[in-house]
Symmetry: C2
Subunit: 180 residues, 2 copies
């Protein structure tokens, strides 16, 4: 979700749309492309909802309003509150690819027990996907050509790796918790 990622970045510091997009790509580029065609409409929505404010940028030296049409987006008090709620809301959205990616990116600001819930929910989700693929591969069996099997096999192994990765994160999370 663009919304949570934008709020999270603006929670760290106010920013222009341009920089926002760069940060988004480097932060979550694994999951999504992030073009301006989705960023600016999102900023508009968030602004209308009152979560962020949109001010003309000031020149660093003179303090005068910069001649360019630059705009600085800043999280409002309501926005901070809303973001905190989003971070602790462990709904089904938190377990799909994008929702999980966005949450993980701001884990440092997330309560430890929520972190664990999200990691475990995500693992369950990926395990389900993996098992679904496994039985699907088993059913269609060897009727498929080599390349299709190869594709499915690679997908299956990726899911398997992700489950193991999540398990490591969960273990780290639980051992850290007991001895801070």
């Amino acid at each position: 979700m663009l919304e949570i990622a934008v709020l999270g970045l603006l929670n760290e510091s106010p920013m222009h749309g341009y920089e926002l997009r760069k940060r988004l790509s480097s932060l979550l580029g694994t999951f999504r492309a992030f073009s301006y065609g989705s960023l600016y409409p999102t900023l508009r929505r968030l602004s209308e909802a009152g979560w962020i404010s949109e001010e003309p940028a000031l020149d660093a030296a003179s303090g005068a309003r910069s001649r360019r049409g630059k705009r600085v987006y800043r999280l409002t008090a309501d926005g901070k509150e809303h973001f905190a709620e989003l971070l602790s809301d462990v709904g089904p959205d938190a377990f799909d690819d994008e929702g999980f990616g966005a949450r993980l990116a701001f884990f440092a600001q997330t309560r430890s027990d929520i972190r664990l819930q999200i990691l475990e929910g995500r693992r369950r989700r990926v395990e389900e996907q993996r098992d679904g693929m496994r039985t699907s591969i088993g059913r269609t069996g060897s009727r498929l050509d080599r390349y299709t099997r190869e594709l499915q096999q690679h997908g299956l192994e990726s899911k398997d790796r992700e489950v193991r990765w999540l398990t490591e994160l969960i273990e780290h999370e639980t051992t850290q918790k007991e001895e801070p």
Copy 2:
């Protein structure tokens, strides 16, 4: 791309939309979700373009037109030709996630030299993504929190695995070619 996948499946045998969707999900579910909200509009487009035909289903036993609104989609001669062109068209689209997935799924019907071009192009693409991520991780360095680094690291390793996988496929392809 839905288009190439639909044409490819209909090239194997005529089908209803419902079955089409099931086959699509099991074939390419790794890449996309495939809801009816995209499938039926695509079928409409393909039909208007003349690549597929849309006939009322016949009852298997009586041969009578089935009372249900069932429709059978069938590849036309033009459609077969178009599909063959799509399979041998090695444009940039063939190297992104979806385009590559769709091509690989029908590799059995693809000329061997084209197969090699697609695999190598895809590998180059993924290598570029991986290198981009690597330098991005190097630049932002250790300023990021543990979870973000973990996320990026996992993404990087996935790309690395994909490159190795593609290399295996390429090797298999080239050795097979020399001794048929």
